[in-house]
Symmetry: C2
Subunit: 427 residues, 2 copies
Amino acid sequence: MQQYHKERLHMDMQQTVLDNGLKIYYIPKPGFSKTFAMLATNFGSVDASFTLDGVRYDTPAGVAHFLEHKMFEDEDGNALQKFGKTGASPNAFTSHSMTAYHFSCTDGFAENLEILLKFVFTPYFTEQNVEKEKGIIGQEIGMIEDTPDWAAFVGMYAGLYHEHPVRVSIAGSVDSIAGITPDVLFTCHRAFYSPANMSLTVCGTADFDEIVRMAEQLSPREAARVAARHYGTRQETVASPVVERRMAVSQPTFLLGFKDAPLAAGESRQRRQLIGDLAARILCGTTSPLFGELYEERLVNRRFENSYTILPEAAAAAFGGESRDPEAVRDRLIAAVRAYAASGVPEELFSRMKKACYGLNVRALDQLDELCRMQAELGFADECCLDFADVYDTITAEDVREMFARWAQPDRTSLSVIRPIQTEETV
Amino acid sequence: MQQYHKERLHMDMQQTVLDNGLKIYYIPKPGFSKTFAMLATNFGSVDASFTLDGVRYDTPAGVAHFLEHKMFEDEDGNALQKFGKTGASPNAFTSHSMTAYHFSCTDGFAENLEILLKFVFTPYFTEQNVEKEKGIIGQEIGMIEDTPDWAAFVGMYAGLYHEHPVRVSIAGSVDSIAGITPDVLFTCHRAFYSPANMSLTVCGTADFDEIVRMAEQLSPREAARVAARHYGTRQETVASPVVERRMAVSQPTFLLGFKDAPLAAGESRQRRQLIGDLAARILCGTTSPLFGELYEERLVNRRFENSYTILPEAAAAAFGGESRDPEAVRDRLIAAVRAYAASGVPEELFSRMKKACYGLNVRALDQLDELCRMQAELGFADECCLDFADVYDTITAEDVREMFARWAQPDRTSLSVIRPIQTEETV
């Protein structure tokens, strides 16, 4: 067992790794009413192609999300109903790179943790329940495909990457999930739900020794071999500079992606993420000089968003929202990136934004779900979320300039635009 | 100054009312990294018609939301930029019944509180900046009108009420906001941004005496008279049992409203809200018997939602999501309401759901923004959010049955449905 203490944040973390490889993190949060627990596997939508025990599998797009849905069902009923009896709030999500199951509760922590560990480590798939789920997930896919924001998001990744599976929507399509069978699900569970590929993170008020004892009892004794993943051939430039679609929107919705270099071997994931968040905010956060100009010119509105995302063998910044002229916004963003890359980031701007980003990170410590998600993500890279304050100290304006210099290279952007359906008058 | 102490929740609240009528609440949250402050006025989208100093005003729909946007602008710049320099996260929202301005920060609390108090109490509207805002808000309205969930929400209230202004969308329409002038905004600010109609709530780590001292210095000395509001003639039954619209969705999106009696004079708002939340969860929360059946039959999916809302002279429960057959879901919901109204709520179900609702309320104490919003809302009714635990003790299955009996009366439901646009094949 290791104990971290971060005096400047007034926070601690206890951690250990079980013999079967399961990582366990506990962050005490005295003063909080609830306790949050997350059991996560390092397996997301991009991990659909892999090799396990010498056999290559190319599973249908959307299999990680499908598996998440099916895990809740056990031979003796649905885990949601079991949590319902304890009064806890359970949920789950699948991202590009992770599947996580979690609950929050105010009492009965051990009882809830037992339900969580049992259902996630117990695969139960039948022909019948898999077929039925296809209808349910098919509806979910239909709904999400109706959403302009989601369509812009999917389009951006399709524009940025040639082969990387991030090009494909997390939930897959009605066609792709048609190919999912109980066998496929059992294979994925075996390949990626090995304790050696997973972590259990708890924030709030609990007994670390009890967590460890329960996890030892309720997780598989053996660390099954984890599959090797395939992400396709890597290319530095984008697949398409513009990706367009038409939907029923009143004005264009867009997302501009800057393709960055993937994490290098040995590079700190946390440091890259903090530099990326900082760069995104400096370039076009709501208090940045460029955002102020674009807002004044009514090219963007208050819902403009920026983000920086790290995935296996991929990393990208994204900027977007609604605009009457997405191409104009893109051109201004690219011009600003080139200017910062050439002349550096002014020290006053850098300090102000660094302070703001640091504040956001400190405030996120109050968000137990967010804290668990961060530690789960960083834990897969053997890093600790409480180190962010120390890592910030090492970040300079030159680090941000270097990132902008990578974004400023030719053919590194893709603009995904959802345009209004043309009405008869304008055709 | 009054001091509440809730031993069973391990929480305190300090409160006072300034001579000018401003209510101040402070809830210490030791162990939290951030501090959250909210300055709220008891003025929302439903308060567009009022009488002030003997004159009746019928202002354009959407004026409260428009005013919220314009408040950020001051003669010496935009408040968002001022917060940007301190590293705090500011924001604001307008609901049917409230406008609130808030920030969260990790340090520099006093500096941020000063910015908040100054900009909310300083109206600054010019012909030019009001005209410009019409374009910005017009775009926002267009975007929100594209959203099926929002359209279903607006349709439900239009179906439930004959005259009540909740029928109209919070932001109004492009046409209605065209009628907004600086004069209209000054009148509304005078009518409803009187300290006697407002509250300041702080959760986190701050010095109560300093909050009070600053609020005294930075709020108007005099309590301006607050306007009297007009909500139209009240009717017990609904305006339309079904409201339909077509949009680009893959399957129908719907919201079923049950029209309840408005809060009676002297009735506890908190108690009604807790009974309403409990009734909604018992009827069709995700762990309710009915939801289990509907989910099994694929009539609803996991995104099904339930809520209970109290507004001035109005109260309603809402249930909805996506369904291949909204009418079937409505019929099942109504049948279940009638059954509970006739036979009562089984004690086991009642206890389990009460425990779950209580847990949700306790967990909400960790959500500082939510806690401030709750206290702001309850403070306008001179109630205290920390009383919920004691209030729960008084709630019985019979209270819930009585609410169901009101919902079960004839002509108390309105079904708002957004149907897919018919394609040529199906016409």
